[in-house]
């Protein structure tokens, strides 16, 4: 990896306002983010702007990052745990250009970590902010397509529908069917989508010392989990939630505790398992 140490460019591109967005948009985002922190797990609509990349590439996360980012921040961006994929590199370069902000791949050195679908293996600390890119913020959308109705369900905390879905999974398959994007209860009040992180990462959200912010650009929603907040994966007493990982050691670093990606190595069934978190894996080798 080329930028393991914090890297700062000489100047930012002055043709853009700092961090790309105009100040009125940032103010609206900032008001939304503060209310999201005050009401943990509650989705708040916001006026998502068109960004210079398509929906599905992290426009929600980018807008949240742009609203909070300052010149002294150190930004890390991961895509499925990796710092070196196209999406992560593009977003890092984007903020490097429009905000002149230092970037890093080191989880420990970052003040803001924007992520697509993973929580880093290295435990986060107080003062760090984890920004999730969220494709579908509504945890009930496969069960209840009407947004007006899901708003009412959240208002009444009437989440029986989701419990029934979990029950049916268990009755039909003997286990809960969602290996990723498994819904959580935040602060004992709101049902929340953790974004499509693997169930393996769900327990890391519980009482995390870092602030967690979630941005959905296409669906135009922001929500948050403050530090030290209760986050419980939805389950039953007799069928407790079990985070799953492939029962192997990482082929590169030997880790038996990290989340693994399965990589096909040839066309004869060969495969290997490696850490999804590239920063964690490289540090252990």
């Amino acid at each position: 990896m080329t930028d393991a140490l914090p890297m700062r460019p000489a100047t930012r591109d002055a043709a853009y306002n700092f961090a790309y967005l105009d100040e009125a948009t940032k103010r609206a985002l900032r008001r939304t983010i503060l209310k999201a922190v005050a009401i943990p797990g509650h989705q708040i609509p916001f006026g998502a702007r068109e960004m210079p990349l398509p929906y599905g590439w992290g426009t929600g996360g980018i807008q949240v990052t742009a609203a909070i980012l300052g010149p002294r921040d150190v930004l890390k961006v991961i895509d499925q745990g990796a710092d070196d994929t196209t999406n992560a590199v593009s977003i890092r370069r984007f903020f490097n250009r429009v905000a002149g902000v230092a970037t890093t791949t080191d989880t420990r050195a970052a003040t803001i970590i924007q992520t697509r679908h993973r929580i880093p293996e290295t435990p986060l600390r107080e003062g760090q902010v984890l920004v999730y890119q969220v494709p579908m913020p509504e945890p009930l959308f496969r069960l209840e397509p009407r947004l007006a109705e899901t708003r009412r369900i959240h208002a009444l905390a009437d989440y029986g529908l989701m419990q029934v879905k979990l029950y049916e999974d268990i009755a039909a398959q003997g286990e809960v069917g969602s290996s990723y994007n498994h819904p959580v209860m935040v602060g004992g009040r709101y049902l929340m989508s953790p974004s499509p992180i693997p169930g393996f990462d769900n327990p890391k959200m519980h009482r995390m010392p870092a602030l967690q912010l979630f941005g959905a650009g296409r669906e135009k929603k922001i929500y948050a989990v403050p530090p030290w907040t209760e986050v419980r994966s939805l389950d039953f007493e007799d069928h407790p939630f079990r985070p799953v990982r492939a029962p192997h050691a990482c082929s590169l670093c030997g880790s038996t505790g990290s989340y693994l990606d399965e990589i096909v190595t040839d066309d004869r069934g060969g495969r290997m398992f490696v850490c999804s978190d590239t920063d964690y894996c490289e540090r252990r080798r």
Binding site: R27, K35, H42, G70, R152, A155, P226
Partner: protein, 188 residues
């Protein structure tokens, strides 16, 4: 007319991060790096919070008058309202309005609950209220001088109607602390 933020973009960003840190860690007293030189009786932290968050889209109520009101009006561009219930943001330089007299949002849209910015003579950590709830690891202590005597009871009533409710930002000079509606407050 006095100037507002020296650097409107970066000073607003710095003030927002202070507010975000305060709201994420209820009762933590956070100092602002760059606060505006606002006319009396506005305190730097309170003025900075309103400059950072309020604009033409947010109705604001304040008890400030004269030069201070003109300054807020000019620099935020916000519509100022006479009835506290109509405001999204309230800046109280004196005794703040009762919490149950403010917009608490609805069960479906609790985010419409107001934000009250209150100016106090002093804020100190390590004594006073015992705060618990999201954002607090075990317990955090905050002493806020100058709030009306019934504030703790008002706050309990505010917390009881969660997710509806009002969020409070307490300011003393260039320092501030926040009480999101989730915070439980026990008198020390």
């Amino acid at each position: 007319m006095r100037a507002a933020f020296a650097d409107p973009v970066l000073d607003a960003q710095g003030a927002f991060r202070a507010l975000l840190h305060a709201m994420s860690h209820p009762g933590r007293v956070v100092a602002l790096d760059a606060a505006p030189d606002a006319p009396a009786p506005l305190m730097p932290a309170a003025a900075a919070a309103l400059l950072t968050l309020a604009d033409a889209e947010t109705p604001v109520w304040t008890d400030a008058a004269g030069e201070a009101l003109d300054w807020l009006r000019f620099h935020t561009g916000a519509p100022f309202v006479a009835d506290p219930r109509d405001a999204a943001f309230l800046l109280a330089t004196g005794a703040p309005p009762a919490l149950d007299a403010l917009d608490a949002g609805t069960d479906e849209a609790p985010q419409e609950g107001a934000t009250l910015i209150a100016q106090l003579p002093a804020l100190a950590e390590g004594r006073g209220w015992r705060l618990t709830g999201p954002g607090v690891e075990h317990e955090h202590r905050l002493a806020a001088e100058g709030l009306p005597p019934g504030f703790a009871a008002q706050w309990a009533a505010n917390a009881a109607r969660f997710p509806r409710g009002v969020d409070v930002i307490l300011c003393a000079g260039p320092r501030l602390a926040a009480l999101p509606r989730t915070t439980r407050l026990a008198e020390g």
